[in-house]
């Protein structure tokens, strides 16, 4: 594929373009965040065509409710990734989705994402392996359950058989590690 010219705006410009329903806002939003959002969505729904639908629904929802976003709520990505996560969770909990995968063998989904999605490694991401190593397994499992599996921290506590407090602490520690790593 010919590499398209990607549009990048500052966060302020992007937010105001979205709220004006300016075409450039839609393009910049897609170019800047689709891959990160898709990475989250595809890990939650575990199916590319469903993930594509959810990604589209996410953008539609962002586009139509951009007016309700304000910088007081935090940075834009925090807001949109939570929209994406909620739509993805709604999708895997919907009856249609569960029926669709009722008859599939579990094994079919092993390595599914890696086979079907080209993960792009940017130069600044060369340290992914290091990062994985800096996160202790118990920290990473908590973070990933919530971030990439759509669990609430209460559900993660049940899943891992840990008290809520421990989950919160481990989550905080994991993010502390990430911060250290990215700095």
């Amino acid at each position: 594929m010919a590499k398209k010219h990607r549009i990048t705006l500052t966060e302020e410009e992007l937010v105001s373009a979205l709220q004006r329903h300016d075409k450039i806002g839609a393009e910049a939003l897609y170019d800047m965040y689709s891959a990160a959002l898709y990475g989250v969505i595809v890990r939650i729904v575990n199916d590319t065509s469903t993930a594509e639908d959810v990604l589209q629904e996410t953008f539609v929802k962002i586009w139509h409710s951009a007016a309700s976003y304000s910088a007081e709520k935090g940075r834009l990505f925090t807001w949109i990734v939570n929209i994406a996560r909620n739509l993805a969770i709604d999708k895997i909990r919907s009856k249609d989705f569960r029926n669709q995968f009722k008859n599939q063998e579990l094994e079919n989904n092993v390595g599914y994402i890696d086979q079907n999605n080209s993960t792009v490694y940017k130069p600044e991401l060369l340290g992914v392996k290091d990062l994985i190593n800096t996160l202790r397994p118990e920290q990473k499992s908590v973070l990933d359950l919530i971030y990439f599996k759509g669990y609430t921290h209460t559900e993660a506590a049940d899943e891992l058989g840990m008290p809520l407090g421990t989950i919160k602490t481990r989550l905080r520690m994991a993010i502390q590690q990430l911060r250290k790593h990215f700095n």
Partner: protein, 280 residues
């Protein structure tokens, strides 16, 4: 200070960033962030880390998805803002092909919207114009019919008048003055008769006859071989087309006479109602 520190340590900011709080808790966090710069700085650090973590795991969606998503945002967004996303997606599927090469997708739909409005307006205007033109056409046709009728009337009148004039030019015509009888001594009437042409005409301008009632008419008779022959009836009043009236034809006559008869005429003259006569 201690309070904000504890707040930060509680891990609530992480849950906020991960969207794992109730609406009420979210509002509390936002209030704390606005109040305490330290909390704000901490939140921003967490957000940044969370973003970078997602970015690290970024997965490129299929390249064709970009157009699909952007079209669903930009096509008809003015109209479909309140529709469910499912509807949007279905519409997008049918609309995409048409818009694939178009650079200005939203203006296309706006163009059609205004185009539709404009054509409706145009339709109304042309219906109104047609109605007006139709009524004018009807008026014109009416006038044309009236004109044709009056034209016909004048043509008839002219040809009749030419007939009348020919009466005077034609030497075979004789003008016969009918004189009043004892019953109506002041009466008079002029009749033109051509024996060769077998034509008899009454000069209505010369009529000086006793008044008739509405159910009566004058009847002209020719006396042929001592017997009265009916030549038709006439009214004393002038008709608007001519001042001479053509009567039934007769080739020979010894006398002409007029009687007053019931409207429509009689087969035999009522002799006591004879008002004028002339013998030849």
């Amino acid at each position: 200070m201690e309070e904000t520190r504890e707040y930060i340590e509680s891990g609530i900011l992480e849950l906020y960033v991960l969207g794992d709080l109730s609406t009420e808790e979210k509002l509390q966090v936002q209030a704390m962030v606005q109040k305490h710069p330290l909390v704000k700085a901490e939140l921003q650090e967490i957000e940044k880390a969370a973003y970078l973590y997602a970015d690290l795991h970024q997965t490129e969606p299929s390249p064709v998805l970009r157009d699909r998503v952007l079209n669903s945002l930009l096509t008809n967004f003015a109209d479909d803002r309140n529709l469910k996303t499912v509807t949007n997606r279905r519409e997008e599927a049918t609309v995409r092909k048409m818009n694939a090469s178009s650079a200005a997708k939203p203006t296309v739909s706006v163009f059609y919207k205004y185009g539709f409005a404009a054509s409706l307006l145009l339709l109304c205007a042309s219906i109104a114009a047609t109605a007006i033109l139709y009524s004018r056409l009807r008026q014109s046709q009416q006038q044309l019919i009236t004109l044709a009728q009056s034209n016909q009337k004048f043509a008839n009148q002219v040809s009749f008048m030419q007939d009348e004039i020919s009466v005077f030019r034609d030497p075979s015509f004789k003008l016969i003055q009918l004189k009043g009888t004892a019953k109506a001594p002041n009466s008079a009437l002029t009749v033109a008769w051509s024996a060769t042409r077998k034509k008899v005409m009454v000069d209505l301008k010369s009529v000086k006859l006793p008044e008739t009632s509405k159910d009566q008419q004058y009847q002209l008779w020719a006396i042929v071989d001592q017997k009265p022959v009916d030549l038709g009836v006439f009214d004393g009043a002038l008709t608007d087309t001519a001042d001479m009236q053509l009567m039934k034809s007769v080739s020979t006559a010894q006398a002409f006479a007029v009687t007053i008869e019931p409207r429509g005429g009689s087969s035999n003259p009522t002799m006591e109602q004879m008002v004028v006569m002339a013998s030849l």
